[in-house]
């Protein structure tokens, strides 16, 4: 396996050593204070407007109530929220032996090389990912595409553009965790695709998020200008392990006139994670956003990517799969606002629950009076693998014009026994037969992914299906 990637394990020991010395452990305070925010801001070398932004967000964070409508998140220690924001760095630089056995096991089954496993677990640094990232960055730079980390972009020639867009789609007033994000965000990607440019290779944030501690409050800002095309991929199927178990990231996508942006995610946070992520896209006239979303990890997820169709003929396609296993309560779905004539949306999701997992599909389609001739179709299928698991569908529709065409269908089912028998009669074990059926069920998503991700996703399903028998 290790032959597949060029790993330089011994080079640059100094990097490790340096980091080990860097273990400032911030004093744990009972709450998130202005002082901490100023500290973060100073460390990041924020421009002043960003510091002010963070401070306003902090105020909002203290004022806004916890959400009271979704899965239980009382396991989050809100009194010690600072421990999520400023986790004990000595613990972050954890040893391989400290990484939970379940995660090490998954790496093994996914066939990820040891050195890469360590970096995914936040133990080591990932040299070749950095290399790939830099080469990709250079390649697309030739087309005028900017692909960089958000923090350094705040000081470059795109600083004004970022200022105009940062948290304009997801304002900190949105909900408590958006406010938290606004106050403490750290890391993430910035992409700008100039008018008319088609980026041929998918850009992948995976290159950027594996640094220890990164990826917990990361901010992704993507601007695809008129007539441009981009595919952006977030995440990877190996479990991401963080000592602090809150993820409150934010994704903002601006899709220009006649532009197309595909945003793919395969998310597999470790099973102790509270994933309270906010994603939103705004689409101009004739533009299109395509979400491809696979949710496998986390203990609790609240995830509803939202698309605002602002211009005539703007469109949204949402393709998702959610797999909730033992101990998981995954509340996922999407929201679409049709706010212009002849806008279209198509939602096609699958949810799978097993071993007591709870999978809830929540969708909202809003059609404003401006959206005459809008078309919306929502289709949701659920598969329950046993009697202990739960699957719910909560569709909401708010249609303010009589001239719209809106449809919804939901189906809940189980694996047909005769299909398992049929596949077994060709030599597949019961486990493999069921995994194959579940993979087929999730094919709406896998067929939209680049091959290597589709393969990883199917591996992941196989892993989740292990022990599903009986």
């Amino acid at each position: 396996m290790s032959g597949e990637k060029t790993y330089v394990e011994d080079v640059d020991r100094a990097f490790y050593d340096f980091r080990n010395e860097e273990k400032d452990v911030y004093r744990v305070r009972s709450g998130l204070t202005e002082e901490i925010i100023r500290e973060i801001s100073r460390e990041k070398n924020d421009p002043d407007w960003m510091l002010q932004f963070r401070l306003r967000a902090l105020e909002l964070f203290h004022r806004i109530e916890m959400p009271d409508w979704g899965p239980d998140i009382s396991g989050l220690d809100m009194d010690n929220i600072v421990t999520y924001v400023r986790p004990d760095t000595a613990r972050m630089h954890t040893r391989w032996e400290d990484v939970p056995a379940e995660i090490r096991d998954t790496f093994e089954r996914l066939g990820i090389p040891q050195s890469e496993r360590e970096s995914l677990a936040g133990v080591g640094a990932q040299y070749d990912s950095e290399l790939v990232y830099h080469s990709v960055r250079e390649e697309v730079a030739g087309q005028g595409v900017v692909y960089t980390d958000l923090e350094s972009a705040l000081h470059g020639e795109y600083a004004d553009m970022i200022r105009q867009h940062f948290m304009k789609l997801v304002p900190p007033t949105d909900h408590k965790f958006a406010a938290l994000h606004g106050a403490v965000w750290s890391g993430g990607s910035f992409v700008y695709v100039p008018p008319g440019v088609t980026v041929e290779i998918p850009l992948q944030s995976y290159f950027r998020l594996n640094a220890p501690g990164a990826g917990q409050f990361e901010h992704t800002l993507i601007i695809v200008d008129k007539g441009a095309h981009l595919h952006f991929i977030e995440g990877c199927s190996a479990p991401k392990y963080n000592v602090a178990n809150l993820h409150a990231g934010c994704v903002e996508l601006f899709v220009g006139e006649d532009a197309v942006l595909r945003y793919s995610t395969i998310e597999n946070w470790s099973k102790n994670m509270y994933n309270l992520n906010t994603k939103r896209a705004r689409v101009e006239r004739g533009g299109k956003v395509e979400w491809v979303s696979g949710s496998f990890g986390s203990h609790v997820s609240y995830l509803y990517p939202m698309s605002i169709l602002e211009g005539r003929g703007a469109g949204c396609e949402f393709t998702g799969v959610t797999f909730a296993g033992a101990g998981q309560n995954l509340d996922t779905g999407c929201k679409i606002v049709h706010n212009a004539p002849e806008t279209t949306s198509y939602v096609n999701t699958r949810s799978i629950s097993k071993s007591g997992g709870i999978s809830t599909f929540r969708s909202a389609v809003v059609v404003t009076p401006k959206a005459e001739g809008a078309k919306a179709a929502v289709s949701c299928q659920s598969l329950m693998l046993d009697d202990q698991s739960r699957s719910d569908t909560i569709p909401a529709m708010d249609i303010r014009t009589s001239k719209a065409d809106v449809g919804h269908e939901a189906k809940i089912g189980r694996i047909p026994q005769e299909a398992v028998y049929y596949l077994m009669s060709r030599g597949l074990s019961e486990e493999d037969a069921k995994a194959l059926i579940v993979s087929g069920f999730a094919e709406n998503v896998s067929k939209e992914l680049p091959l290597e991700y589709a393969v990883e996703m199917n591996n992941l399903i196989r892993i989740e299906m292990k022990g599903a028998i009986g």
Partner: protein, 253 residues
């Protein structure tokens, strides 16, 4: 007589508490082609299902030995790996899995080896041609939206790729038009080219058999094999139907 591959003795089985097979004795040698005929409801598909291990069926008595091993305790996949194959009367549709991917998975399970993609594709393509199926078929979801004839051809394709030692064809010819029956028959002929491969062809139609070499014919009526003979039995059924055998079963019962 050829080396014994399957030996069934006194097999009784049924479904939902109702006995359907009332003591089946059947022996199939390696490389032999046997035909099982009988009227509707005689228990032909039940026998096929019992041999493959259909979980809906209950075995209440008797034994079955397949390739030297007690068959009945084996799980369905273990039977398949041992060389048993059943061409289903109603193959199940499995959305999201392409025929090709499924075939590859199945072959890898059967052989325990990874397939070589190009060699495998070539083999599939040749077989598709042989079975007069469109090459694009391999990319379609397993059985999804296939016509009756296409499903049966896809079963033959699986049989020819998996190369089982005993293939049971459960009315593979039923509901097919003349051309499709001819194609299926060609597939079976191809399978017979392997001299060690055995067949149990369940049918109530002589057409599929006309071009095939047949070693033995069994007549199943009311859950019992009432007569076993040579290929000449096929002609007799063709002329007289099962009426004479049914009377005999009643007398015996």
């Amino acid at each position: 007589m050829a080396e014994q591959l399957l030996k069934v003795e006194g097999l009784t089985a049924g479904a939902a508490g109702k006995e359907i097979l009332h003591g089946i004795d059947l022996e199939i040698g390696r490389g032999e082609t046997h035909v099982l005929m009988g009227p509707n409801g005689a228990g032909k598909s039940t026998l096929a299902g019992v041999l493959m291990g259909d979980p809906e069926l209950e075995i209440t008595g008797g034994t079955a030995v397949f390739d030297g091993e007690d068959l009945l305790p084996l799980a369905v996949d273990a039977r398949a790996k041992k060389g048993m194959f059943l061409s289903f009367q109603n193959p199940i549709e499995v959305p999201g899995i392409s025929l090709e991917n499924f075939l590859r998975t199945a072959i890898e399970q059967r052989t325990g080896k990874r397939t070589r993609v190009w060699a495998f594709r070539k083999e599939v393509k040749a077989l598709l041609e042989h079975l007069q199926m469109d090459p694009g078929f391999a990319e379609r979801d397993l059985n999804v939206g296939f016509s009756g004839g296409e499903k049966k051809k896809a079963e033959m394709l699986q049989m020819l790729l998996l190369k089982p030692s005993l293939a049971i064809l459960d009315e593979t010819d039923s509901g097919l038009d003349v051309d499709a029956v001819r194609t299926v028959s060609k597939g079976v002929e191809e399978f017979q080219k392997d001299r060690s491969a055995s067949l149990l062809i369940i049918t109530h139609n002589a057409a599929i058999l006309s071009a095939l070499h047949v070693d033995a014919v069994h007549i199943l009526v009311d859950g019992k094999i009432v007569e076993t003979g040579g290929p000449e039995l096929i002609g007799r059924i063709g002329r007289e139907g099962f009426a004479g055998f049914e009377e005999r079963a009643e007398d015996a019962g």
